[in-house]
Symmetry: C2
Subunit: 186 residues, 2 copies
């Protein structure tokens, strides 16, 4: 089910959705900046409330900054081992300016998460491993990357050629999570 | 770039990411329950914090309930015109039980949003149109679908064969949203 394109291997959608794994070990191979641009190009096609696109992406390659990010993420050292560490920021002010508190606390979180999922799938289809890290101290990350008050760092995503090949973690069955016309405890 | 499978047309990932649109008009064609199950099957392969999978999906087909959902969503009437209206719930208690306030206010919102993006892409690849509706009164939706306190309805997603073919809304350029090693105002 592979489709070969001019710039590598393009995966069929369902294979990407089901085959993507969280990868926590990376080979040292560098990532060309064009590949990072391609990831962001796909991220930005996510839908967003009012098409506000309340997202900013900071691609970190400097060793010292990657180490500071790993420390801010409770010492998860694998983060610093990735050739590129992406920090995704939600523009809370942008969403709040139109939608108030609901924009700030819900929509811009959802919009950036949808963009991240596009990015994870695209990275996988390009042969890169990623891990969506949410456990970090936002206030520690801010000064490292000059993140202003209106932006909120919502995810740290190390990206690199996979150095491991984990099994898929179990998933709750469809019959347990899909309900018809009303919620029923299963 | 189409790959034909036993159960229809499978789209290449990037075509799905870039070709998906928000659709607000639907044809009356019914949606087989197997297709809804297939959408949920793809949604559940999104990553989630601690693999908690804090999501529940309520597929609404009853006319009276669809009308109540449309009313709860500030009267957006196109919602009731879709053959299936999906209400996605975040299990805030499930995430809070492991991660406290950050789980409840951030992770379970992100996890459900990533699952939704999988679902929107899959729906598009199956020929269905969707629209991620975030503007609705959560407390009005609860009693319609028997949603308990531990769940929070975070999105209403009408699904149907598209009755319109909108142009892609503009996107902020990559050069404006991608920053290297530190945030810089563009």
């Amino acid at each position: 089910m592979l489709v070969i394109s001019l710039w590598g291997v393009w995966l069929e959608l369902l294979e990407a959705i089901k085959g993507r794994r969280s990868i926590r070990a990376y080979r040292p191979n560098p990532i060309p900046s064009e590949d990072v641009e391609r990831l962001i190009d796909c991220a930005r096609w996510a839908p967003s409330a009012g098409n506000l696109q309340p997202w900013e992406f900071i691609a970190v390659t400097q060793e010292s900054k990657k180490l500071e990010l790993a420390r801010a993420a409770l010492g998860q050292r694998f983060i610093a081992e990735a050739p590129v560490v992406l920090v995704v920021c939600a523009d809370t002010w942008r969403s709040a300016s139109v939608y108030g508190l609901r924009g700030e606390s819900l929509y811009c979180i959802q919009d950036t998460a949808a963009a991240i999922q596009n990015l994870l799938l695209t990275a996988y289809s390009m042969g890169y491993g990623t891990c969506w890290v949410g456990a970090f101290n936002e206030e520690t990350v801010r000064p490292v990357l000059n993140i202003p008050r209106r932006l909120r760092p919502v995810a740290i995503i190390p990206i690199g050629v996979p150095g491991e090949s984990p099994s898929p973690p179990p998933r709750r069955p469809v019959s347990q999570i899909l309900h018809w016309d009303a919620y029923r405890e299963v």
